[in-house]
């Protein structure tokens, strides 16, 4: 077709990635597993499992069940704690690919402490702030669902961090105010969106299907919501780098996310099903760029526009 598309390397909020395809948090293992499964140099980056100040044993099994075109999961954010993570997982992950370290806390102080441990640490390309967990201080179920609290948490992490900070927004029917709050608080980029809260029921046993009872929804089922969130936020904040997460399985999905306004995508569930999916997707993006005679992935970003934020009466629209 054309020789123009040489590389699909992207720079997002100052982080250089070999491709715009990252593997999502919770789907990258501990650093040892991926190398036997996928050509890591063709993966844009790895988002670590979410780490907390203290080690967490995580939730009771079962931790994953299927739903229509999705999975409902809860690991209870099992992780060895930030110190052990830095010592035993980060080096292997960082040797493979740029690492976005995902961090979570139940209090402002916990976010601050983790960021302190990561500050200036070799191998941390960026921080992704997980904001879907409970707020133990304000006793709210989702710490990042309120613009005020989001500003506090993201602001504190962004002020301390020496690397770019991505806020992984919890989603919802109107994600723009949260995106604006995160941007004002100093986020360098946004991941849109976290898995929404979900529940699977085992009706034969008359109990929740997961050991943790509650879970989160991931997988292809989410794509239309992801695209909408990306498009809305891109319209509101056209210069903010956006990473689409939720339902990206194929190169076509990734291209759609980029057309909606994402500079990069994360692939979670699809990586679990097919560890080579991130590489296949990256190759497919190259093919799509060639088809469009586009020089770089950036040319796709935001090429599809949606209407105005507050929809007008349909008579005007028609």
């Amino acid at each position: 077709m054309t020789a123009r598309t040489r590389s699909i390397g992207v720079e997002i909020a100052g982080v250089s990635l070999a491709t715009p395809v990252l593997i999502a948090s919770g789907c990258v293992g501990t650093g040892k597993e991926l190398s036997g499964l996928v050509e890591l140099r063709r993966v844009g980056g790895l988002v670590s499992r979410t780490v907390t100040v203290e080690p967490r044993e995580g939730s009771a099994p079962p931790r994953i069940v299927e739903s229509a075109a999705g999975v409902v999961w809860d690991t209870g954010l099992q992780n060895p704690g930030v110190d052990a993570f830095v010592a035993s997982e980060l080096p292997a992950l960082a040797a493979a690919s740029p690492v976005f370290v995902s961090i979570a806390g139940g209090t402002l102080e916990e976010y601050v402490r983790i960021t302190g441990v990561l500050q200036g640490r070799a191998g941390v390309a960026a921080i992704e702030v997980h904001l879907s967990g409970p707020d133990r201080e304000l006793e709210r179920p989702v710490i990042g669902a309120h613009a005020d609290r989001l500003t506090e948490v993201v602001g504190a992490v962004a002020r301390m961090s020496l690397v770019p900070v991505f806020a992984k927004l919890p989603g919802g029917v109107d994600v723009v105010p949260l995106a604006v709050a995160a941007a004002r608080a100093g986020a360098s980029g946004l991941t849109l969106c976290a898995s929404p809260p979900a529940l699977a029921i085992d009706s034969v046993a008359t109990r929740p299907a997961l050991g943790a009872a509650n879970g989160w929804l991931s997988g292809p089922a989410l794509k239309p919501m992801t695209l909408r969130a990306v498009a809305e936020v891109h319209r509101a904040l056209p210069r903010m780098p956006l990473v689409a997460s939720g339902g990206i399985r194929t190169a076509a999905d990734a291209v759609e996310a980029m057309l909606a306004g994402a500079s990069a995508v994360q692939v979670g569930t699809a990586t679990l099903i097919d560890p080579t999916a991130p590489v296949t997707i990256a190759k497919g993006i190259v093919a799509e760029l060639q088809r469009r005679a586009a020089g770089s992935p950036a040319e796709l970003v935001g090429a599809v526009e949606i209407g105005s934020a507050v929809p007008v009466q349909e008579e005007q629209r028609a």
Partner: protein
């Protein structure tokens, strides 16, 4: 571990199970008893995850060299139903071999292998390898009814003493596998125990082996998001060596074979793993 597009050489009904033989030399030459494969589902379905299937046979030598066999319970759900409907010469996307295999005893000789339902399938591969290493194998196998006892003739062929039990007495003794374990341990000077099945069976095995101070290995099943260590969903509660603490380890890479003495069965059972799967899981 390899990922292959494997042709189905043959597929056949065995009682209430379906057994599929694949041409997958890259996997077959590496596979060991207790390991499993992860088989992809078709792209356009509304169920997504790979299905994890214990390796029933893997042939490195002879006429069947390079083949791999697994057994599914077609009634379990959509994935096993789809697999059971596959015809010979169809292709499957298979990753394997996965997981930590059973280990063989170095000095001890007399082994008892215990299994129930389709989980028995994995034990024959183990029995073969034990016999090839000069060990003596006894077996206790069972199922809800005659059709649900997997290849009882094979058990007879591979082992010295075989106990077969069914819930309804249509084959062998009437009763449960759990009830048949103690008698089997009385009948022969068993030194090592292997088991595969559900949590209730495996926790009973753990308890018996603990009280009799018998070394044991069990192959567990827990719902898996991947099968190769990426997602941490396949959690099994395991005690630390000194028994003072515990943690969740991954069934797919740290297992599926565990020392039953280290598994914290009560915690696992409480979590709801009591009836994970199988012909009578409903």
């Amino acid at each position: 571990m390899k990922r292959v597009r494997a042709e189905i050489l043959s597929t056949r009904r065995l009682g209430s199970y379906q057994s599929l033989t694949l041409v997958a030399p890259e996997i077959a030459e590496r596979a060991k008893p207790g390991q499993f494969v992860a088989v992809a589902m078709p792209d356009d379905r509304d169920f997504l995850l790979r299905r994890h299937l214990t390796i029933h046979q893997s042939s490195r030598r002879g006429g069947w060299a390079g083949t791999l066999e697994f057994v599914v319970d077609p009634g379990a759900g959509p994935g096993t139903a789809w697999l059971s409907d596959m015809r010979a010469h169809g292709f499957l996307d298979v990753i394997g071999p996965l997981g930590t295999p059973f280990s063989y005893p170095k000095r001890l000789t007399n082994c008892l292998l215990i299994g129930e339902g389709r989980s028995v399938a994995g034990l024959y591969f183990l029995a073969q390898e034990l016999v090839a290493r000069g060990k003596r194998v006894d077996m206790v196998i069972g199922g809800s009814t005659l059709d649900a006892v997997f290849k009882p003739i094979e058990a007879k062929r591979l082992s010295q003493l075989v106990t077969v039990v069914t819930d309804d007495g249509t084959l062998g003794e009437t009763g449960t596998v759990i009830e048949a374990i103690e008698p089997a341990l009385e009948r022969a000077p068993i030194e090592v125990v292997y088991a595969a099945g559900k949590v209730p069976l495996l926790s009973a095995v753990a308890e018996i082996c603990r009280s009799r101070k018998l070394p044991a290995q069990v192959a567990v099943e827990e719902r898996m998001g991947c099968g190769y260590g990426l997602c941490g969903t396949c959690a099994v509660p395991v005690a630390s060596k000194d028994g003072t603490t515990w943690g969740h380890v991954r069934a797919c890479v740290d297992g599926p074979v565990f020392n039953p003495a280290r598994v914290v069965w009560d915690r696992w059972r409480a979590a709801g793993a009591a009836s994970p799967v199988g012909e009578d899981a409903q």
